[in-house]
C-alpha cells in the first residue's frame, strides 16, 4: 500500500478469543507497547462470566487526538475464535481487514467482498515449532501479536523490552515468546503488504500511566490511611481488595516488628463486611469495603444503621449489570438510586462518581474525608469499565501536606472539659455533632443505637424528639453538597467565537461515559451543532449543578441504565423542571461510545430516522447477542 494513503494513529481493532487460552497476556502486551510508543490508546476487555471456553474480546482504539472512548467500528479484527467467527466477520468496517488462522480452510460463505482476509497458519506454525500441547495453544496468541506488530508497525524494540520485563529471569519462557513472536511477524512481513492504517511513535502520553480503576481505588484507600478493610469476593470488585492487600503487604509492615499495620477481613458475606466496616469506624479507624450491586442490596440494613447512628463508612461499589445476578462481567451505571437511598426509612447517602482511575484514586481519599466529616456512609460509584480496564491517565501524585479530615471526634481532654457529653447535641454549621470513641474516657461513654433516639442520644418514641434528629440528618446531607467534588463543566464549544457562555442544549453525564460524551459533542460541533457539557461528580447535587441545568433549555442526561436513574435523582432532588431534562440511555453492558451518543441525539431531535438509525437502543440489540 502506498505510504501516502496511510492513516496514522487513528483506528480501532478487536481481538476475538476463547477465554482461558492465555490471550489476555498477548492483548495486554499489544496495549502496553502502543502506550509506550506515546500514542493515546484504550483497551476494553469484554469478557464472559466464565473461566474457560467462552468467547472473549479485547478492543483497542488508538487516536492521536486522545479520543479513546470505545469505538464501534473496527478497521481490523483478529478472529481467533471459531464460535464467534461469523459475527466477528460481520463487525469489520467496510474496507477493513480480518486476520484469521488459515490452518483450517475458510468457510466460503463467510467471505465478504469489502473485507480483506489475511490468513496466517498460526496453529500449524505453533504445532511445528512447539512440543507441549499447552504451549502450542498459549504461543498462538503471541504469534498473532507478532503478526500485528508487523502489520501495524509496532516498534519491536518496545515489545522486546516488555517481554524482558515480564519474563526476565525465566529464560525458557522468554525464548518461547520470542520464537512465537517471530513466527507471526515473519509470516506477515513475507506475505502481506502494510495496512492503510498504522502506528507511529508520538509523545502524547508524557509521563502518564496505564492503570485500572480498582488498583487506583486501593491506592487511594492506602494513602488515606485506611487500616481495616472487610470484603466478600464479587466480580468486578474483587481486585480492589486484592490490590489493597498487596499494597498493604508492601507499604504497611511495621519496619521494626514486621507486623501488619492493617487488618483485611474476608467476611462470610457482604452483610458482615459492611458490619465490620461500621464497627471499625465506630472504634475510630478508617475502614472500607468494596462490592458490586448484589452486595449493596445485602448491605442495605446496615447502611441505614450507619446513616441513622451517624457512623462513618466507605463503600466502593464497582457497578456491574443488574438486576439480580445480571451480567457480572459487563458494565452499567444502574445502582444510582439503590445507593442514593439505600435502606428502609428516610435515608440518603453521599455518592461520588469517578470517571477514570485517576479520579478513583482522588475520590477514594475524598470518600474517607467526607465519611468522617459527615459521620455517614459515602459510596464511591465506580464501575466495571473503570475498575477492570487499563486506562491511560495522568500520573497519580500525592501532596505530603495532606491531613486526614477526621471530623468532630472529641479527645479525652475535650471530653473532660464538657459537663456532660450528649452524642447528638451541639451541632456545627454543617449539622454535624461531636462523637467520642470507645476506650477514651468514661465521661464520653454513650450507647450507639439504631433505634429511635433524641438529640441527647437517649432512646425515644416521642414524635418531636425523633423528628428533631432526622430533620437534622436531612440538613446535614444537604450541607454535604458543598463538599462533594464540583461538576466538570465545559462550555468551550458553544462559546467558541461568540464570547458568550451557554448553548441551548447540554449533555450531562457521569462516570466512565465522560470520554464518549465529550467526543460526541466534538463530532456534533463538526456538524455545527454546539452543545455544552457537564459531568456530575457527587451527590447531593451542589448549586453549580442546578445553575448549569437551569441555564440550558434542554439537558440530555446520558447514562448507562434503563430507568434514567440520574435523571430521576435530579428530578427528585433539585427544582429543575422536568421539561428541561431528556434522556439518552445505553445499558447493554459494554462501555459507552461516542457514535451511540451522536446517533441517539440526532434521533431524539428528529434529524435521523429513529427506526433505521443505530440509536442507543438499536446498538444494544445488535451487540447483546454477542454474549457467550
Amino acid at each position: 500500500m502506498p505510504e501516502a494513503h496511510s492513516r496514522v494513529n487513528d483506528f480501532a481493532f478487536k481481538l476475538a478469543n476463547v477465554n482461558g487460552t492465555g490471550s489476555a497476556s498477548a492483548n495486554g502486551l499489544l496495549m502496553q507497547a502502543i502506550f509506550r510508543m506515546g500514542i493515546p490508546v484504550s483497551g476494553k476487555n469484554l469478557f464472559p462470566s466464565n473461566i474457560q471456553g467462552l468467547p472473549t474480546w479485547y478492543e483497542i482504539r488508538v487516536n492521536k487526538d486522545g479520543r479513546t472512548a470505545r469505538a464501534l467500528d473496527y478497521d481490523l479484527i483478529v478472529a481467533m475464535n471459531a464460535q464467534t467467527y461469523a459475527r466477528d466477520v460481520e463487525e469489520v468496517r467496510s474496507g477493513g481487514y480480518l486476520l484469521f488462522d488459515s490452518t483450517w480452510p475458510l468457510d466460503k460463505s463467510l467471505l465478504r467482498p469489502d473485507v480483506v482476509f489475511l490468513g496466517v497458519p498460526f496453529a500449524q506454525l505453533c504445532v511445528e515449532n512447539f512440543k507441549e500441547p499447552r504451549e502450542r495453544i498459549l504461543m498462538k496468541n503471541i504469534a498473532y501479536a507478532g503478526s500485528l506488530i508487523a502489520l501495524l508497525d509496532i516498534e519491536m524494540s518496545v515489545v522486546e523490552e516488555l517481554l524482558q520485563e515480564t519474563f526476565g529471569k525465566k529464560k525458557a519462557l522468554l525464548e518461547s515468546n520470542h520464537k512465537a513472536l517471530k513466527l507471526g511477524y515473519d509470516f506477515a512481513r513475507q506475505n502481506f503488504e502494510l495496512l492503510p492504517f498504522r502506528l507511529q511513535r508520538m509523545d502524547a502520553n508524557g509521563d502518564k500511566i496505564l492503570i485500572d480503576g480498582n488498583t487506583a481505588t486501593a491506592l487511594g484507600a492506602l494513602y488515606a490511611g485506611c487500616t481495616v478493610a472487610a470484603w466478600y469476593p464479587i466480580t468486578p470488585a474483587t481486585s480492589v481488595m486484592e490490590s489493597f492487600k498487596s499494597l498493604c503487604e508492601r507499604y504497611r509492615k511495621d519496619p521494626k516488628t514486621g507486623k501488619n499495620n492493617f487488618a483485611i477481613l474476608q467476611a462470610e458475606d457482604e452483610l458482615a463486611a459492611i458490619g465490620m466496616v461500621i464497627g471499625a469506624s465506630w472504634a475510630g479507624v478508617r475502614a472500607f469495603t468494596s462490592t458490586a450491586g448484589p452486595g449493596v442490596s445485602l448491605m442495605n440494613e446496615f447502611l441505614g444503621l450507619a446513616y441513622y447512628a451517624e457512623i462513618p463508612a466507605v463503600l466502593v461499589d464497582v457497578q456491574r449489570v443488574g438486576p439480580s445476578t445480571g451480567m457480572p462481567t459487563r458494565t452499567q451505571q444502574a445502582d444510582l438510586l439503590s445507593c442514593a437511598y439505600a435502606s428502609h426509612g428516610d435515608t440518603k447517602h453521599i455518592l461520588l462518581f469517578p470517571a477514570n482511575p485517576a479520579e478513583c484514586f482522588e475520590l477514594a481519599v475524598a470518600s474517607f474525608d467526607l465519611a468522617e466529616r459527615f459521620q455517614t456512609p459515602v459510596i464511591l460509584m465506580s464501575d466495571l469499565d473503570i475498575g477492570m480496564n487499563d486506562w491511560v491517565v495522568p500520573r497519580l501524585t500525592w501532596n505530603d501536606s495532606y491531613k486526614p479530615e477526621r471530623g468532630r471526634v472529641l479527645s479525652a481532654e475535650q471530653i473532660e472539659k464538657l459537663g456532660h457529653f450528649h452524642r447528638y447535641a451541639d451541632e456545627d454549621e454543617y449539622f454535624v455533632t461531636p462523637r467520642t470513641l470507645p476506650g477514651v474516657s468514661p465521661k464520653g461513654a454513650y450507647l450507639t443505637r439504631g433505634s429511635g433516639h433524641n438529640r441527647l442520644g437517649g432512646y425515644t418514641e416521642l414524635p418531636e424528639e425523633y423528628q428533631a434528629v432526622v430533620d437534622r440528618l436531612a440538613q446535614k446531607h444537604r450541607a454535604a453538597a458543598q463538599f462533594v467534588p464540583a461538576p466538570v463543566i465545559d462550555v468551550s464549544r458553544s462559546s467558541r467565537g461568540k464570547g458568550k457562555r451557554g448553548a441551548p442544549f447540554s449533555f450531562v453525564t457521569l462516570g466512565g461515559c465522560d470520554a464518549a460524551v465529550r467526543e460526541a459533542l466534538d463530532l456534533l460541533a463538526e456538524q455545527g451543532i454546539l452543545g455544552d457539557y457537564m459531568r456530575i461528580r457527587g451527590f447531593p447535587f451542589g448549586a453549580e449543578v442546578e445553575e448549569f441545568l437551569n441555564a440550558h433549555d434542554v439537558n440530555y442526561i446520558i447514562e448507562q441504565n434503563r430507568d434514567h436513574q440520574l435523571k430521576s435523582l435530579i428530578i427528585l432532588e433539585t427544582g429543575i423542571p422536568k421539561s428541561k431534562l431528556e434522556s439518552l440511555l445505553y445499558y447493554g453492558g459494554f462501555p459507552m461510545s461516542a457514535g451511540l451518543v451522536v446517533e441517539g441525539y440526532l434521533s431524539a431531535i428528529g434529524k435521523q430516522d429513529g427506526a433505521g438509525a443505530r440509536g442507543l437502543g438499536g446498538i444494544h440489540e445488535a451487540l447483546s447477542g454477542a454474549e457467550g
Binding site: L219, G279, V285
Partner: protein
C-alpha cells in the same frame, strides 16, 4: 429501649476493688425487662465479674444486636461505650471494632433468636475467626419482644404457652461451637450465680472468643410447664460438670497439678483456670471427649453446665492476621501513608 436512671440511694456494696471502684460503678440504667427475667441475673453476674477483675469501665465495649437480650448493654457499665446494632449482626460489628482497637474488652450480648436464627452465620464466623470477646447468649428458647414465638434453640417437644409443640431439632450453640473450633465453650444457668461469675471471669481473660450459653428463662413467655427453658425444668436437669475457678496471676496456686478431678489451664495473662468437680473421664481440654460426654448426657435429658471446653492455644484473629500490637486506632497517620516519594516510585510500575 427506654432507660431509667436508678435512684441514687440504691443499697449496693460499698466495697472497692483494686482500682478503687464499687460494684455500683459497674451498673447501668434500670432494667426495663420483665420482673424475674433471667437476663437481669446475668447482668448482675456480669457486673460482679467486671468488678472483681477490676476492669476500667471505659475500656469495655458492649456490643449487641436486637431483642430482649440485646437490651442488656444498657443495664451495666454505664461508663462504657455500647453499640446496639441490628438483628443478628452484632458479631460483625464487634469483629470490626476489635480489628480497629484490640485494646478493649469486648462483651457481646446476644440471644437465641439473635444468634441462632438470623445471626447464625455471623456467630459461626466470629467463632471461626476467634475474635477476642466474651460472647454471651442469653438463651430462653423464645422470641420475647415479638411475644412468644419459638426460637431455634427450642427443644423437640417443648411447648409454647398457647400449647403449640416444637417438632424441629434445636440448634445447640455449645455443640455448634465445639464443632467449628470454638476455643472457649461454657454453659450456665442464669439462676446459678456461683457458677456463672467464675465462668464470665475466665471468659473475660480468654484470648479468643469465649462462647457462654446461659439458659435464661423468659418469665412471660416460656416459664410454664412443658417448656424446657423454664426455671423449674433447668433447676431439675442442670448438672454442673466442670466447675471453673479463676485464680489471678498474683495469687499462689495451691494445687497446680491437683488431685484427681482437678485440671488447671493457664491463661494468657498468667491467671489460671482451675476446674473442680470434674466427673471421671471428663477433660475440658479434649474436644472429642467433651462432645461425646455432652451428647450422651443430653440424650438422657441432662443439661451439663460449667466451663465445658477451653483451649488457650488457638490463635485469635489478630494473631492469625499478624496485626501490630499497637491498636490500629492508635497507629499515627504518618506510619500509614507511604508519602509522595513512594508513590512517585510506584508509578514506574504502571508505565
Amino acid at each position: 429501649m427506654p432507660s431509667i436512671s436508678k435512684p441514687v440511694a440504691a443499697p449496693t456494696g460499698s466495697q472497692r476493688n483494686d482500682i478503687g471502684l464499687t460494684l455500683r460503678d459497674y451498673e447501668g440504667a434500670m432494667s426495663t425487662l420483665c420482673a424475674g427475667c433471667g437476663h437481669d441475673s446475668i447482668t448482675a453476674a456480669l457486673i460482679r465479674s467486671l468488678w472483681e477483675l477490676s476492669i476500667q469501665p471505659h475500656r469495655i465495649a458492649k456490643m449487641s444486636g436486637i431483642g430482649c437480650s440485646s437490651k442488656t448493654p444498657t443495664y451495666f457499665a454505664s461508663g462504657a461505650h455500647g453499640f446496639n446494632s441490628v438483628h443478628g449482626r452484632m458479631p460483625a460489628v464487634a469483629t470490626g471494632a476489635a480489628a480497629a482497637n484490640r485494646g478493649l474488652h469486648y462483651i457481646g450480648i446476644s440471644g437465641d433468636g439473635d444468634s441462632l436464627s438470623i445471626g447464625l452465620g455471623q456467630m459461626s464466623h466470629a467463632i471461626r475467626r476467634n475474635v477476642r470477646m466474651l460472647y454471651v447468649i442469653e438463651n430462653n428458647g423464645v422470641y420475647g419482644l415479638t411475644k412468644g414465638q419459638f426460637s431455634a434453640s427450642a427443644d423437640i417437644g417443648s411447648k409454647l404457652k398457647k400449647g403449640e409443640t416444637n417438632q424441629m431439632a434445636p440448634i445447640d450453640p455449645v455443640f455448634l461451637g465445639l464443632c467449628i473450633g470454638a476455643s472457649f465453650v461454657a454453659r450456665s444457668f442464669s439462676g446459678d450465680k456461683q457458677q456463672l461469675v467464675p465462668i464470665l471471669k475466665a471468659a473475660l481473660k480468654h484470648r479468643g472468643l469465649a462462647l457462654v450459653d446461659v439458659i435464661s428463662p423468659c418469665v412471660t413467655f416460656n416459664d410454664h410447664e412443658g417448656s424446657t427453658k423454664s426455671y423449674l425444668y433447668t433447676r431439675k436437669h442442670d448438672k454442673p460438670v466442670a466447675q471453673a475457678d479463676l485464680v489471678p496471676p498474683a495469687e499462689e496456686i495451691l494445687a497446680p497439678i491437683g488431685p484427681k478431678g482437678v485440671t488447671t489451664i493457664t491463661m494468657h495473662d498468667g491467671s489460671v483456670v482451675r476446674f473442680s468437680a470434674v466427673p471421671e473421664g471428663y477433660d475440658p481440654r479434649n474436644r472429642a471427649v467433651v462432645l461425646q460426654y455432652l451428647q450422651e448426657r443430653q440424650t438422657q435429658g441432662v443439661i451439663p453446665t460449667g466451663l465445658l471446653y477451653l483451649d488457650e492455644s488457638v490463635p485469635d484473629m489478630h494473631e492469625m492476621n499478624n496485626t501490630t500490637d499497637t491498636p490500629l486506632v492508635e497507629v499515627p497517620f504518618e506510619s500509614l501513608c507511604p508519602g509522595s516519594g513512594a508513590l512517585e516510585k510506584l508509578m514506574e510500575d504502571f508505565r
